[in-house]
């Protein structure tokens, strides 16, 4: 019978739950938090939670004391007044409104905390406390006590500026849209009056109403164009902003003149629409900018704060910043190596997936090198530090990512150049028109005609053509479960010349599976199942998954001994059972003859071989298809892997990839990409592991699977949410389609201008036509962009 845990509400079998006074808990953590909440009078949390489930309490082993260190305060804590501190924290484990309520309530009820606001949408919290009443580590402990965890993040100046800028744009857009909607309504009356006649009194009132609406739109919403035009002029350049600012201002001045008693119709509606359309285009470009700031903080949060050093035969605890070259570090099972070094005593298997990306643990013996950031899995070893923390591999990786994030190069857009020529031509044509009509018809007619030229040639359609198509393309990809962090990547992706692929986890499943078994004696299958079920080693797990499909119970085996990732020994029905790698069995005098390139797991009983399992990392479905597609697009394909040459060659041969490189460290991969970029290649990197993080940050565009490591996902520009390789092909297809549509849009808006400008120059354009045709050109561009949505068959 399944029963829900009284704290987290996740259902478990009754037999595994801890029972306490009619209550059931899935773990000690849940039990502790439940007791604490009830004792502190916070039981109403469960009423608020209802039947929703939450995450079981996060078990954090790291010491909260690091939050009080000077270096931490220097980096993350802001001093508000003499006695007030402020910090931005990311709270982990927040799931629902009840979680926010609980955390805020506990923090607000704590003496010394004056502000604790948690944003439900992004789990970020701002905490202000009085430094003479409480320390930050106690605040963190409070959060941990109720089952959540927190780490600091650094909201840097760039991010702050970006957030502020986005908000400003949003405000300006709200005002502009408000102005255009209202002015359009008034416009209907005005243009009806144009045909049916209108009292002068009403027309004046309409002009004043339009003036009231247009003024804030031009000077508040349009201020971005004035700023842009100012910088353009300062740099002796003429861009889109100059054209928009000049056009809108001249039109506005003319309209004010009409309102104050001049003859004709005002163009206030055109002023508002020019500003609004171009601003929409600008806003679309601004939103969705990628947020890469907290990646580095999250990486830093995984580094141990201190470690144990052996000094004069005594174990002393040291902060990792204090480790010096030559120190002897004591590493226990499950701990991360803080600095690089060489093994002095003991042996153990290391999880190097953070460096090489390969999931197979590697056995390290005396004199073998240890890389910082790798995790010791089973035994205890002593090693001599060969670097300090500042020069350790982990810190180098973090530093490289930090630097490349700060200087991520953006490919310059050609559209800006196009708009420059366009703007110069329009302004020149308007000027020539003015001069011509000045001599032919006088000042007033010359001004009206010149303004008509500018209004009708307004680059609204030109400004909308790129962002509109990109937004439609991105939303189409979002429906296909592909996430783009920034719009411009669509354009860059469509121009990519080289694709660099990681092997493990990207082209292959990154998980071993049995591809062949040879059984010499089948009566030991259940005993093998029992022995492999005792280990979490990837090979044991794969063998267990392979043979655990018969629903039979495992046999009783005793005295299981594990030998640091190499194999096991056990007693089964008074017989000696040995299982493990070929090398491990050889140490017992059992020799296995095989020339297989796969990973081998063998089992012997009383020195007689009973079973051999061959394991391999299988290719992902559609890997072949991706390579074939990239080949048809004439894109260079390169495979980089931290794995051995023989394995890399095998995968490359299967997929027919010619350029492949094995034994690549994270730095090698990054250097390789930098070199490609120096040769003017536009590089797309597809990877998933922490080991790919640096390379991902260096590439023009990085793509990763959502199942990849946290760091890679955060660093990537494009994320494939359902981990399907097929979606990468679709990414390329949609980006090419979108780029084609952008070119079509630009073409359409230029054709429109070429057709309408001569008519305006000749003085045949009435205000209604100017206003309508300007909107029409923008609508055509929008409609053309929407076609991307309906191209289902081509993708």
């Amino acid at each position: 019978m399944k029963i829900a845990c009284s704290h987290c509400h996740i259902k478990f079998d009754k037999s595994v739950l801890i029972e306490q006074d009619d209550l059931f808990f899935c773990c000690k953590g849940c039990q502790g938090v439940y007791g604490l909440l009830h004792d502190s009078g916070l039981g109403s949390f469960y009423d608020k939670l209802g039947s929703r489930t939450i995450q079981a309490p996060i078990n954090t082993s790291s010491d909260a004391k690091k939050f009080d260190t000077q270096s931490f305060h220097k980096r993350y804590v802001k001093s508000l007044h003499d006695d007030l501190f402020e910090v931005d924290l990311m709270i982990e484990g927040i799931h629902c409104a009840a979680c926010v309520w609980l955390s805020e309530k506990v923090l607000y009820d704590t003496d010394g905390i004056v502000q604790a606001d948690i944003n439900f949408s992004n789990n970020k919290a701002k905490i202000v406390w009085q430094k003479d009443k409480i320390v930050l580590s106690s605040i963190i402990e409070k959060i941990r006590q109720i089952g959540y965890d927190a780490y600091a993040y650094d909201l840097d100046e760039v991010e702050k500026k970006a957030v502020k800028e986005k908000k400003e744009y949003y405000l300006k857009l709200v005002v502009a849209v408000f102005g255009s909607l209202n002015i359009m309504m008034i416009g209907i009356a005005k243009y009806t009056g144009f045909f049916t006649g209108m009292d002068k009194e009403i027309l004046s009132a309409v002009h004043v109403a339009e003036f009231i609406l247009a003024t804030p739109v031009l000077f508040f919403s349009g201020s971005v164009f004035f700023k842009g035009a100012y910088f353009n002029i300062k740099n002796r350049n003429i861009g889109m902003d100059t054209l928009v600012a000049t056009g809108a201002t001249l039109t506005y001045i003319f309209s004010v003149y009409v309102m104050l008693g001049g003859s004709g119709y005002s163009y206030f509606d055109s002023v508002v629409m020019i500003i609004t359309f171009v601003l929409v285009g600008k806003y679309l470009e601004k939103i969705g900018k990628k947020n890469a700031v907290d990646i580095v903080d999250k990486m830093r949060a995984t580094i141990p704060v201190d470690c144990e050093i052996i000094q004069n035969n005594k174990i002393v605890s040291k902060l990792i910043d204090e480790i010096q070259v030559g120190d002897i570090v004591l590493l226990k099972p499950g701990q991360k190596a803080p600095v690089d070094g060489i093994v002095l005593e003991g042996s153990g298997s290391f999880d190097e997936s953070s460096i090489s990306g390969e999931s197979m643990p590697i056995i390290k013996n005396k004199t073998n090198q240890i890389i910082s950031g790798t995790i010791l899995e089973d035994s205890t070893i002593k090693y001599k530090a060969t670097t300090n923390f500042a020069h350790s591999t982990t810190n180098e990786i973090i530093k490289t990512i930090e630097n490349s994030l700060a200087s991520k190069p953006a490919i310059q857009k050609k559209a800006n150049q196009l708009s420059k020529y366009f703007s110069v031509s329009i302004l020149s044509v308007a000027l020539l028109t003015f001069i011509w009509w000045f001599f032919v018809g006088g000042f007033e007619i010359a001004l009206i005609t010149a303004i008509s030229v500018i209004v009708i040639a307004c680059p609204c359609a030109l400004a909308l053509s790129t962002p509109m198509a990109v937004v439609v393309g991105i939303s189409k990809l979002a429906k296909l479960k592909v996430l783009f962090k920034e719009a411009k990547y669509l354009e860059i992706l469509s121009k990519a010349t080289t694709v660099v692929l990681d092997k493990t986890g990207t082209l292959t499943n990154g998980k071993l599976s049995v591809v062949k078994q040879t059984i010499y004696d089948d009566k030991y299958t259940q005993a093998i199942k029992a022995i492999v079920s005792a280990s979490t080693h990837p090979v044991s797990k794969a063998v267990y998954n392979y043979i655990n499909n018969d629903n039979k119970t495992t046999a009783d085996i005793n005295n299981i001994k594990q030998n640091s990732g190499q194999g096991f020994s056990a007693i089964y029905k008074e017989q000696n059972m040995i299982a493990g790698s070929i090398d491990y069995l050889e140490t017992f005098g059992i020799f296995v003859n095989t020339n297989s390139s796969h990973t081998i797991f063998c089992v012997a009983v009383d020195e007689k071989l009973v079973a051999v399992y061959e394991l391999s990392d299988e290719l992902k479905e559609n890997s072949q298809k991706l390579i074939e597609y990239l080949n048809t697009q004439n894109i260079n394909i390169v495979m980089l892997s931290g794995d051995r040459q023989i394995v890399v060659d095998k995968v490359a041969k299967k997929l027919k990839i010619k350029k492949r490189y094995a034994n690549m460290s994270p730095k090698d991969k990054a250097n390789f990409i930098t070199k490609l970029k120096q040769n003017q290649e536009i590089v797309v990197m597809i990877g998933d592991g922490i080991n790919d993080a640096v390379a991902l940050s260096k590439a023009d565009i990085s793509i990763s699977m959502a199942s990849g490591s946290d760091i890679s996902v955060k660093l990537s520009d494009i994320i494939i949410l359902d981990n399907s390789i097929n979606k990468i092909i679709q990414c390329f297809k949609v980006s090419k389609l979108t780029y084609r549509q952008i070119k079509q849009n630009l073409g359409l808006s230029l054709i429109y201008n070429m057709a309408t400008i001569p008519v305006a120059v000749m003085g045949y354009v009435i205000p209604l036509v100017a206003a309508l045709s300007m909107s029409l050109s923008s609508l055509i561009v929008v409609a053309n962009s929407l076609r991307i949505k309906n191209t289902k068959d081509k993708i």
Binding site: C96, Y108, F120, S121, F178, N182, I212
Partner: protein, 66 residues
């Protein structure tokens, strides 16, 4: 007749400008920044919750005073 039309035009315009002012105030004071929290906050309206809200506000006010 013209007078009514003109008054109607400007009354409508003034009302919509008032609404716009409220929206701008909302954006500037971060009323729309965490809509999820604002919405679900409506569910927590027991006397205790409301007292907590007042306490929070008081603490914040003290902070701004100091």
């Amino acid at each position: 007749m013209n007078g009514i039309l003109i008054v109607g035009l400007f009354v409508g315009l003034s009302l919509s400008i008032i609404v716009l002012a409220f929206v701008i105030w909302g954006i500037k004071t971060e009323q729309f920044d965490d809509a999820q929290k604002q919405n679900s906050g409506l569910l927590f309206d027991t006397a205790d919750d409301l007292n907590d809200a007042i306490n929070k506000e008081n603490k914040k006010k003290q902070l701004h005073k100091s």
